[in-house]
């Protein structure tokens, strides 16, 4: 069977690239969007992990065994879902740049 010729459309010197290719894993500085920041009351928090599950940027780490609840503000967009969903109302949204 005669095969169809596979002729490169580009000049042979150029590399044939099939399209824009994503090869760098990046994160944008979404923390700069924040107008209000979530501040957790460590006494009220029962380490249930509900906020961590719902956090869109996965900024919250909850470890029940280590009795740990941490918020990483690098990427936190300040959406407030964590404060809204906390069953113990242990997270408060405080204005960014104001007094804590």
């Amino acid at each position: 069977m005669e095969m169809q010729q596979n002729t490169p459309t580009n000049t042979p010197k150029k590399r044939r690239v099939l399209g824009p290719c994503s090869h760098v894993l990046v994160a944008y500085n979404t923390g700069s969007w924040r107008m209000v920041r979530p501040v957790a009351d460590q006494e009220k928090c029962v380490r249930c992990g509900i906020c961590a599950g719902y956090c869109p940027v996965a900024a919250i780490t909850v470890d029940k065994k280590a009795d740990l609840m941490e918020i990483d503000y690098t990427y936190c967009k300040g959406c407030g879902i964590c404060a809204n969903e906390c069953p113990k109302e242990a997270i408060a949204m405080k204005p960014e740049g104001g007094e804590n």
């Binding site: 824009p20 090869h23 760098v24 894993l25 994160a27 869109p56 996965a58 809204n84």
Partner: protein, 291 residues
């Protein structure tokens, strides 16, 4: 080869330019968490396109391709066929498209993939309008919702994607909501184990397009499930199983009053919406009783 400039959370980059309060990140993170690294993604233009990247940047650590709006299921089917030819039966091919790319523009290619029962997992995250291009109404936009193309409220109801999917006799289909994450994870896990064309329809409220404070995304999604505006169900081997029963079926007034897109609609429109919701649920209940 992927160059890591940051440490991903799971298989997804932590900082993505999705709107404040958007839960698509959570859908991606949970889906990829369950499917694992042995996955190839097809993402059409839309809000989710920020994951496959524009230019050299990517936000996922698995291979992905950004296709066109109308052919994401066809691309996925092609990739699945390629894998089958290579004797690869373990890599999951997943298409993640928005409601516009699924119910409007991509419906024919999805229908073809479902008919051929190609080995793909098709996920539709439903924010009920073309949110990425400026909130134009889609056929998933619910009755009376205001968008830039339906400024006075949509005069007709939405297409019922899950019933269209069921009509194709796919091996597995389910609806899920970002408010019920364990349920969502359970359904993705189940879909992973099944071969053939599987479809997941996930509600993902949009703070920008629906007009509510970004903190309320999960609350609104939960209200949608509780009022019956969004029904959690599973379709497996021809059998429909209803999930969580709505706590207050037909009580859509509060759900609608929380959103600006329903601002200014009359009481009769609310009553019609409530009737649509209760009628649909009654129909689905009857379906669940069969077989």
């Amino acid at each position: 080869m992927l160059t890591y400039t940051i440490q991903p959370k799971g298989l997804v980059s932590p900082g993505i330019n999705t709107c404040q309060g958007c839960m698509i990140d959570v859908i991606f993170r949970n889906v990829l968490d369950i499917l694992g690294e042995d996955t190839a993604l097809v993402i059409p233009p839309g809000c989710a396109a920020q994951f496959s990247g524009c230019g050299p940047e990517s936000a996922i650590t698995v291979p992905g391709i950004q296709g066109n709006l109308e052919n994401s299921a066809a691309i996925a089917a092609g990739i699945a066929a390629g894998f089958r030819f290579q004797g690869n039966d373990h890599t999951q091919v997943v298409a993640i498209a928005g409601d516009g790319g699924t119910v409007d523009i991509g419906l024919q290619s999805l229908s073809g993939a479902m008919e051929r029962n190609d080995n793909i997992l098709y996920i539709c995250y439903d924010n009920q309008a073309y949110m990425n291009t400026g909130i134009q109404g889609s056929s998933s936009t619910p009755y009376a919702a205001s968008t830039t193309t339906t400024p006075a409220g949509k005069p007709v109801g939405s297409k019922d994607l899950i019933r269209i999917v069921m009509a194709h006799n796919v091996p597995y289909a389910a609806t899920a909501s970002v408010s019920h994450l364990p349920d969502l994870r359970k359904k993705v896990k189940k879909a992973k184990e099944i071969k053939g064309c599987r479809v997941l329809h996930i509600l993902s409220p949009c703070p920008t397009g629906w007009g509510y404070p970004s903190a309320k995304t999960v609350e609104i999604a939960r209200k949608a499930v509780d009022s019956g505006a969004w029904v959690l169900l599973e379709y497996e081997n021809g059998k429909v199983t209803l999930g969580r029963k709505p706590a207050a079926l037909g009580d859509v007034a509060e759900y609608m009053s929380m959103q600006k897109r329903f601002a200014g609609i009359g009481e009769d429109a609310v009553a019609t919406a409530a009737k649509n919701v209760t009628d649909r649920y009654a129909y689905l209940e009857k379906l669940a009783q069969i077989g």
